[in-house]
Amino acid sequence: MLPVFPVVLPLFAAALLAALTKLVSQRLSQGIAIAATLATLGIESYLLHASAEQPIVYWFGNWLPRHGIALGISFTVDPIGAGLGTFASVLTLAALVFSSKYFDAAGNHFHALLLAFLAAMCGFCLSGDMFNMFVFFELMSAAAFALCGYKTEDPGSLQGSLNFAVTNTIGAYFVLSGIGLLYARTGALNMAQMGRALGAGPLDSLVLIGFVFIVCGYLIKAAVVPFHFWLADAHAVAPTPICILFSGVMVEMGLFALARIYWDVFNHALHPHLAGLRTLFVTIGVVTAFIGAFMCYLQRNVKRLLAFSTISHIGLMTIGVGLFTPEGLAGAAVYTLGHGAVKAGLFLVAGILLHRFESVDEFDLYAKGRRQRWTAAVFFAGGIALCGLPFSGLAAGDDLVHAAAAATGFNWVRLISLFAGAVTSAAVLRAGGRIFFGWGPAGDQSSAPKHEEKPETERGHDHTPATMFVPAAALVAAGLLVGLTPNLKPAASTAAMQFENTNAYATRVLDAQPAPAPLPPRPAPTEIFSGLLTVLGAITIAAVHLFSDRARDISAAIAKPLQLLHQIHSGHVGDYVAFLTFGMACFGLLCAYCFR
């Protein structure tokens, strides 16, 4: 019964809130939402604990498989999925607490939508059925589109939300076409059964393009290049509490889907081409990390800056998942925790700035934050943590990914994470230096055009309420401390091994046989040196940018050719869909002709 709760409980609470829209006060509705989220968090963390030995399989309606054919829908709970669900509940909780000040006429609907969003993310992580995943994906999207456009008084908000909705809906229909193709081949929707059938059958262009449609459809949500355009628009305009869910966990769901689908469905069929797949996904990751980092550095809107930094970090996580080894996946999972918490904390600081000074523009805010010592401390701690400060959550993830990369011959990946980490973190530190200390000049030639941002709160601009500051500080602290958790790296590696054991998964789901216990993982070394080097790099870049006129001239000169990048990120939904078509066609042709 327990695996049902993380989906059903928030949905039921959402229906309750909608039924009582005008009867309960907004405080009470927030209370109900927080209680439901806490309960979900509790159950998810129990599932995380309980599934450590064996995946938990739950067949809805007791429709057990017959002769190896799955009839019903199964939830297959494993530590990676349950862990991601737990993390989603934590961030939802932070968003709910932070949004105390966001009440207006739509308060109850806002809470109900947040709960539906949470339920959808939990369902997506736990489901073992291809079509059921699609259903939860769409539920997640429907809630996210509405929440993203929440500030309907802001024209930018509506446009960002529309771009988000159109690109992601098209992605979903690529996924559905892929599911249709695979159903025609395998006659199955259960992922374990699909995996067996594909492993037995021929690997032809139908299977390969089915893979591309499903994976790329989900990667649109993960915002990898060239599907990343919607992300910055959506993040820059969404209300701050929603941004933390988007950046911290929703985007990572796309990568989770890549791992889930590769390991449960395509592992047997595509295994002969593993080396080629590695090269493909590592390349995508590297390009994403670079473009995200460049664009991040060029921004002046703090939320947009953080959004592009998310793209860059997603690139690093894509490398982790795309190495297709247990350590790589474990690294990406730990990285998700570290990055999600820190990035959420930074977004909340941006929300505090918006609340206090009604702007998130680096130059408008110039030196305005001088007296915000604590807020500044959180912002700088987050900025430093973002580049993988040794022993932080991101560093632990980096260690694992680097170990996996070294084992598969991609040793140079550490240079990529050094570069992307340093540049994105330098952008945050630079903005922090301007806003909180008034360092550097008050204007700059090289940055992106200015965007107006409407304030989100109505009153109380003269102080920072605890409901805003505490979640921000707690999240940044959590992102730093999670790396110190004893046993984190081995536990994540064990979980990833369990996740990637395709045969054990299939026998567990279809034959109800217990899976063999995973082997103890190899320890990944802690890399203090490269972490410190990244921090040093970040501080140097930020300091040089702020204090040296000549360096600014040089960076303006470098930024000139990058204007093309600016122009590509045009905010025009047609452009984004054209790039989407381009990306889908490229991946399709590449896979169909290289992996035959």
Partner: protein, 114 residues
């Protein structure tokens, strides 16, 4: 022996994409997204059809009559609901955009960029 339904599905997808990229009106754009979604109906239903079999309704025929695949039909029903609701959401965004920007032409909306 026909492949026509699959070709129709592919055509609808591509022509819908063309509509989205070339649209000058958001309402038109949203309907084009609907065209892309229709592609998946055609694909699912044509995968589920079995030559010479009846509809999977056993109300007035023996329960062991050979019928077409009910699974994809059920998936398609789900899909229709998803489409309707997503379109409703997109249209409400379009209404609000018209109110705030005073235009429905995506070429003239340039609030977010760079």
């Amino acid at each position: 022996m026909s492949y026509l339904p699959y070709a129709v599905a592919a055509w609808l997808f591509i022509v819908g994409l063309y509509g989205v990229i070339s649209s000058r009106n958001l309402i038109h754009l949203v309907i084009c997204v609907g065209v892309i979604q229709s592609s998946s109906y055609v694909l699912l239903l044509s995968i589920g059809y079995r030559a010479g079999r009846v509809a999977p309704i056993f109300a007035d025929i023996p329960a062991n009559t050979l019928a077409v695949d009910p699974i994809v039909q059920a998936l398609m029903l789900t899909d229709i609901v998803v489409e309707v609701t997503v379109i409703a959401l997109l249209l409400s965004l379009a209404v609000q955009i018209h109110k705030r920007h005073g235009t429905l032409n995506p070429d003239r909306l340039m609030k977010v960029s760079g």
